[in-house]
Symmetry: C2
């Protein structure tokens, strides 16, 4: 461990990391490995409340990852947790679903203009795999177009890693470039009369790459291809869903999908995913067999109903946009004052901050470490997330700490110059 | 609805079913569709406590499905729920895992002789897909052998339905017959030097078919094939895990797998799955990328630690075997007294009851409906599940009600003869 990281991850964290090394491959796996965040970030957390998260060494951070998306109202939200407790007290995972599955499906159908029906799962990967299966069942075709490098889950057909994956797992996957109509046209031509679905992320949020909102013309072209061919237009709203538009993220570009996948923020951290679909794909959704042992449990669905109520009541997307804009303005102003050139990309509610001339994000990483020691948890390569717990006061406190982090980074730059 | 089912599913259930028809394809999906249980069974449940489950019309049943497996200690178990509440109160789904992931991995490694490490997921399908991905990563090979008609999940490579599935999803899946060494030898020969894994259920529990325990010779043959070829022997302990042997179900036949998948009972209804593996596959487990938004949440892992403690403290498998045996004895004795020929198959803790000369299970279905009206929730085609809440008194009460159901069935048979 380099000198710079001493004082970051603490004693309890180090102890747990050592124990984890013995019994968990690589000490941790998947997207929450500390190896994937800046050096010195804690691996283990103890809890969270509102906009703050607390590590196992008792240090609190203003949390701009929101559990990598799920916390849209803030950690341990009292109203959500009360609904969860009520169902847990009654008994939760039962021989069949609770009434919450109906209420929640009705709520999504009322909220999301394209949605005629809904099904529920546990993982974003479940939702996206179900979308593909339903699209294939409904069209009797096989080819699925996805944007190159887009993240749609961590299962063989779409995982960002091909380790342990066979070529056949992706035999019918074709690629286009996000927002590039020509490349989409070309992929559609290759698929020919075997086109089952065009799968598109709500916006371009590939790891470590400047984010892009969907171009309205591109979205319309994708819709037109599906209208022409009968293929399913599938929006992957797993990451962005409910933060940008309660009717589905592509309402902002005036395009409605046939199928959409949701997860992350749907139940404020309780495990749930959803597929919504239009009438055209209802019969296909009836025909496929998708299920899981815990998919019918009531508590996460009860949570999701409360989350949906609150987001409507408070106009969640507008507040998140305002909070994200305040945060972005503060970051940019502070960076300029301290002599750094940073830019933010993507929607304000899910921003990515990048330094100019920092292709490997090493400056971004150093900055995030400075911010962490000042009580702000950021990410240098993955988009961050705002929540409704990120009030003006919270954001101003974070920006103040971040300003100090920029200043420290500037001092280090001078010292090494 | 036929006359016989009037008085079964009630007013609130019917109302919810009608609403569900509008917003959920087919009114419900997957294994908890009421269409898959005897006619008149309720679709919607309100809660459960101990060995009892309660539908939305307030009717209580002694529950022999245990939520289709998860409830191994009984519904709403106080000690488990207390651990869950503690983590939920602190904040649960965070920017990284809690310490429970380490404690739980340590506990599984201590408990399960083959296990050198553990990883956690949400669905049984996640665990089994991870096993296959790790086996392929570790061997650099592709072929995966599974028993014909075995259930390993509801994702394209293994779903019992091929609707929406492509041939390529199963391009490298080969079949053998459970407990049939010759068919296993033949499949191994077909796989040749491309054999990545042999995947075997803890016991044969195919839907609607007489259950079979694994033959020790067959298990040894599977182990020998893997030893010879370097392929991974994978035991699917998703359904049976923790009910038969806390060291893994194949401890009973003296064979240790390289990888095993667990889910269902691991956390007494809280959503969790696990893969355990030996040292040989640790590097492969490090190399693959498998993850999910909610996989690191602490509460289900805290629950699993408590479940593991309790199962050890009370010798869960021995108690479940005793409870299942008492139930089976009662069923058979009652059936004989009422003039029916029934047999039970599989381990007593996960029994399947079948009537003689009832190939379509219609007699079984009629019996289950009689039992339901008498407050006992059974299944006619899928194995049932015992829990530690199924005390002698509970089982005796169930057997008494079931005896009345057999008597009613006998009267109907006489009336129609």
């Amino acid at each position: 461990m380099s000198v710079a990281t001493i004082g970051l991850s603490g004693g309890r964290d180090a102890e747990l990391c050592a124990r984890a090394q013995a019994v968990i491959p690589g000490g941790m796996w998947g997207h929450q490995r500390a190896a994937a965040v800046p050096e010195g970030y804690p691996q283990f957390f103890a809890g969270g409340a509102g906009a703050c998260v607390r590590d196992v060494d008792g240090r609190e951070y203003i949390d701009f990852m929101c559990s990598w998306g799920p916390m849209i109202l803030g950690h341990a939200h009292p109203e959500v947790e009360a609904a969860v407790r009520t169902q847990l007290d009654a008994g939760d995972c039962l021989d069949g679903p609770t009434e919450h599955v109906v209420t929640l499906a009705e709520r999504l159908v009322q909220t999301i203009p394209h949605a005629d029906w809904a099904l529920f799962q546990k993982n974003g990967s479940d939702a996206m795999t179900s979308c593909v299966t339903i699209a294939r069942a409904g069209t009797g075709r096989r080819k699925v177009l996805v944007a190159r490098n887009a993240y749609h889950g961590a299962v063989p057909w779409c995982s960002p890693s091909v380790v342990g994956v066979t070529a056949e797992d992706r035999a019918h996957i074709l690629h286009f470039e996000y927002n590039d109509i020509e490349s989409l046209d070309a992929a559609v031509a290759v698929a020919g009369d075997d086109l089952a679905a065009i799968v598109v992320s709500a916006f371009r949020h590939d790891l470590g790459v400047t984010q892009e909102l969907p171009d309205a013309g591109f979205a319309a072209a994708a819709r037109a291809h599906c209208d022409r061919s009968g293929a399913a237009l599938v929006v992957d709203d797993v990451r962005a869903g409910f933060r940008l538009n309660l009717g589905g993220s592509w309402e902002d570009v005036g395009v409605r999908p046939d199928l959409a996948g949701y997860s992350k923020a749907i139940a404020n951290g309780h495990p749930l995913a959803a597929v919504t679909g239009n009438a055209r794909f209802r019969e296909a959704a009836e025909a496929v067999f998708v299920t899981g042992s815990f998919w019918y449990a009531g508590a996460p669905m009860a949570a999701a109903v409360v989350v949906n109520d609150i987001l409507h009541r408070l106009d969640g997307p507008a507040r998140l946009r305002a909070a994200g804009t305040r945060f972005a303005d503060g970051l940019i102003e502070s960076a300029m004052r301290r002599g750094f050139d940073v830019s933010l990309s993507g929607p304000p509610a899910l921003p990515l901050m990048q330094f100019a001339d920092d292709p490997d994000a090493s400056l971004g990483e150093a900055f995030c470490r400075e911010a962490l020691t000042r009580g702000v948890y950021l990410h240098h390569k993955h988009n961050m997330f705002l929540s409704l717990a990120h009030t003006d006061a919270v954001i101003d406190a974070a920006v103040e700490a971040v300003d100090d982090a920029f200043a420290a980074l500037a001092r280090k730059r001078s010292a090494s110059a």
